[in-house]
Subunit: 339 residues, 4 copies
Amino acid sequence: MVVMTPTASEAEIEAVVRRLEAAGVHAKVMPGELTTAIGAIGDPEGVRALALEGMAGVDQVIPISRPYKLASSELSHHEPTLVRVDGRVVGGNETFCLIAGPCTVESREQTLAVARAVKEAGASMLRGGAFKPRTSPFSFQGLGQPALEILREAREATGLPVVSELTDAAHAEAMAEVVDVIQVGARNMQNYGLLEVVGKLGKPVLLKRGLSSTVDELLMAADYILKEGNGDVILCERGIRTFETATRFTLDLGAVPYLKLHTHLPVIVDPSHASGDRRLVEPLSRAAAAVGADGIIVEVAVDPEAALCDGPQQLHAGDFQRFADSVAGHASLVGRVLA
Amino acid sequence: MVVMTPTASEAEIEAVVRRLEAAGVHAKVMPGELTTAIGAIGDPEGVRALALEGMAGVDQVIPISRPYKLASSELSHHEPTLVRVDGRVVGGNETFCLIAGPCTVESREQTLAVARAVKEAGASMLRGGAFKPRTSPFSFQGLGQPALEILREAREATGLPVVSELTDAAHAEAMAEVVDVIQVGARNMQNYGLLEVVGKLGKPVLLKRGLSSTVDELLMAADYILKEGNGDVILCERGIRTFETATRFTLDLGAVPYLKLHTHLPVIVDPSHASGDRRLVEPLSRAAAAVGADGIIVEVAVDPEAALCDGPQQLHAGDFQRFADSVAGHASLVGRVLA
Amino acid sequence: MVVMTPTASEAEIEAVVRRLEAAGVHAKVMPGELTTAIGAIGDPEGVRALALEGMAGVDQVIPISRPYKLASSELSHHEPTLVRVDGRVVGGNETFCLIAGPCTVESREQTLAVARAVKEAGASMLRGGAFKPRTSPFSFQGLGQPALEILREAREATGLPVVSELTDAAHAEAMAEVVDVIQVGARNMQNYGLLEVVGKLGKPVLLKRGLSSTVDELLMAADYILKEGNGDVILCERGIRTFETATRFTLDLGAVPYLKLHTHLPVIVDPSHASGDRRLVEPLSRAAAAVGADGIIVEVAVDPEAALCDGPQQLHAGDFQRFADSVAGHASLVGRVLA
Amino acid sequence: MVVMTPTASEAEIEAVVRRLEAAGVHAKVMPGELTTAIGAIGDPEGVRALALEGMAGVDQVIPISRPYKLASSELSHHEPTLVRVDGRVVGGNETFCLIAGPCTVESREQTLAVARAVKEAGASMLRGGAFKPRTSPFSFQGLGQPALEILREAREATGLPVVSELTDAAHAEAMAEVVDVIQVGARNMQNYGLLEVVGKLGKPVLLKRGLSSTVDELLMAADYILKEGNGDVILCERGIRTFETATRFTLDLGAVPYLKLHTHLPVIVDPSHASGDRRLVEPLSRAAAAVGADGIIVEVAVDPEAALCDGPQQLHAGDFQRFADSVAGHASLVGRVLA
């Protein structure tokens, strides 16, 4: 939709129409009370490429169709995508996927202890960071390859599939050997090279929303993975950056039902990173279940106060059974069982 | 806490100490590895008034104590405040207050029909706008005084207490005669004259968070009302303005448990204005119950598609019983019954 | 422009058309490749009132014409408005208005000293707060009426017109007797009662942008004043609230040329409140002149480090001549002389 | 600085002190009127790793020293860094670096024509995209390697050093052979793998601020490059994401003088991407010069209305001489000559 300025001349209107038609786009002129609008009917990419905003007399070009394609439940799959991970189903409105584990793999003992605790409480998968992206180069960056070995052992000990973040394409092969679900972190949501790499790995992907990305941009990022032929993408709302600093980020739970209306992909929630405060993680986890998310991903520690990374937001393993039951109760009210 | 620059001289440090001590504030110098910090121990208002940031060698002045007082559960009341409205209790973690009604009072028939429908479904109070603040002066501004008469009749017909927004101190008396809970809208959260007026009216106040106000600012605004001797203040999270435009505002549900940690006042949630889309109101209402809010305030219409104001976000009266039951289920899981 | 969902039925499209036509709005159906759009040609207010977003099959309603009217240079005045204040011209691209003075009137001596210093350096007007809106009720709120007397004396002593903020309609008459330009502060930009009051006072108004208001909302707020018949409105960009906390607010200088394209009203900039740091005020003042603003409003103090309010952002009176010359140099490069 | 809650017990305070001292950090207890604060004097990284926020009785942990190191003018270099690119000096307050060229290299003719036009008008360097990161995978992604050949030819023809963006570590070697300054785009500011790669390339780096990154995070990202031994980092403000959508991003010009206070690295401004509208680029470029930036980077096209990418924001080559003179005038007023 091309909106002309109130003072646009006939000649300027015609020039826009000509450029549209020269590009094979059908143009429909709509004279309004104040301004004339021109509907451009055809391939949205093609219209964008015409850069009509630069033409004389043009006030605004307003895209009418949504900018993502493969992730759209309106344009592509009308049925919800079910991502299957070693028997667990994510997506489809009947299951709730509880992913839990340490922020970072710090040692074999710590990781196995947490893995056993969350398994016992009914968790669906184990999370744990091997490579950590840190804002400052002087912070702890994760154990790397040894962490992957520990995660492999934890999976064998508990049977839980493992979720871990890929921060660099160079680690993709090593990670794909061990990890069941490849996580793309918020800071890499628009790292398009990495998205294409994970699109080709043939593993389910957990794609976190960038901390200042719109949900439309999240869906366009998913398109990067989907177009490589990998349909197993799980979206994750993890809090956005706003003016409010009382909580670390602002968890955008309204994005969950919005996404469920517009995409066929599963949507889970990460309340740990959003809040940065253990006391908020449980209420927000219950809310995520109640709002209709397909799951949550939370951080758990045996002794969170001694953890090297993100300690204040980690749940206590000793309290995890009660936590899981409480969240499962709300999931059950909306017709879901733990995956 | 006054932090000096790394290059601050001894004389500059001493000048800060002298100014603090001259104002009766105790100063504690703490030389660090890189910078020297000076702890200022005394009345925070007094320290702020010294404007130390302007002094040579001062890098930052970081307030350590929180800026609100009367609303604080740490400094004032340690027990939750229970606001009682005609027998209904708001606050205190045992009840859930369901406030429902039309966005705007448009006619007697419409208002009575909605009031009866929400009463039957178990609502705790009736909401309805008599005076509407509108962004453009050319939009419908509410019926005014006649709307108050209709609300009075609806209260008599249903027994539901009435919540309505005060937009101008000039209407305070007229409104106080009819309305049980005076609402201060988001755009007026920092209209300090109005806050003092409602502080003196002797009626419970529903104070909405400004659309770009931090929760600390919300609590300072509550202080304006509390200091007039009116202790019956109900806080309301209603969505904040962020970069995301998929939903009208971003509902900050993390603010609810944060507020419950730091204030004794009840906290409710308005999912209707936050989302601007009926299809999101129910999931967000369930989430508000699950996150531990003391209630919600939602818009309901008999025929929302014909409503003059904010139609797309209004729930259907015909579906309200099912909606109320669903929300009450989640409230019940966290130990609450409908107020 | 009404955009239907890709799956909207013919009947749903027709229902929208019928509702538009029943309201006297002309509807133009435009079937697209993916979705059908319906152009609604007529009064935008009327279309909004139809609440089409609530109808079955409707995906989005996108307003095409801009929401402000009287402030628009496209719909109302095509020529720039010149606001004349005691001989000084604000607006019109040939003058630059330098408004300076203390944040708050604290004493007769302080105010007169600053007034004389800024007059000598070439300032166009004197600013000074009599009533101060403060976030916390426990902060200093201004001297009130005695401050107005001091401002009157400063005007007589220097010949400078006086700008001061009206925070409460109750002070309007008293203020109009003394003050030459009535300021509406950022926190009151959407206090519509107050806007109508200043619209009727018959004095030029300096309207500050709300700290989280869009420029379109600023122009709609100006419409509230303009529709009362008061055409002398000066807009003021003063920084918006964003995620960045290094500066107090984020000064949106891009808003200045944007506003100059879309409104006939003068636009000035307040770099003092935006930055909260004296060391940034001068660079931002130069930038405001270079970007094409019609003026700036800055805080100046004889001894800023002792000021009761907002000390760290106030310029030193002793350095003000150099400051003014530097800013005037940049204004001169874009063809402006000090007003 | 560790702030305890008002109700923290003596034992809780002692536990914090013990944990600090066990980690070799000196602790200073400061009992206040309302709360006790504990100053932690030692390595900030070490203190952060202790995760004290998780301990009983702890309310907040407030970092006092700034989180970046190598980029700091307080902790590292006290003198401004001068980045020398083929004889041009960036940084140091005496030069102004004018980088101009097409958004994307689309053809040999287009690129050479623009290169010659900007060279003639006094530009310091040529910009041009070979690989473009695009939000949607279906948008034009740049010519890739052939674009590098065209840039090499343009450099030979004009003598202008070339700036181009690296989007993927896989292209680093190819790019380093041709390009004089490697740009890291906003979406990759926290792509730490890429930062380390460019840190090792031995070429000057132009590091753009992430669209929702704070200036502190920008400086921490610079630390990633600096710690690899590459000291030639040029920072670039290019607009941040805020609630305002009238302009594409909000150009944060206040960040420029803030950065000049806290870092020794040069700071330039990109007004083209920030505004997305040619009519705003010139005013904002003048403002960037006036605010004290070390340069700007702008997009220029021979026929911007036909450009495949970002057309509406590109300046006209035919008008570029006048543009450059106007910007240079403001730079000259603050004591700078074109680099």
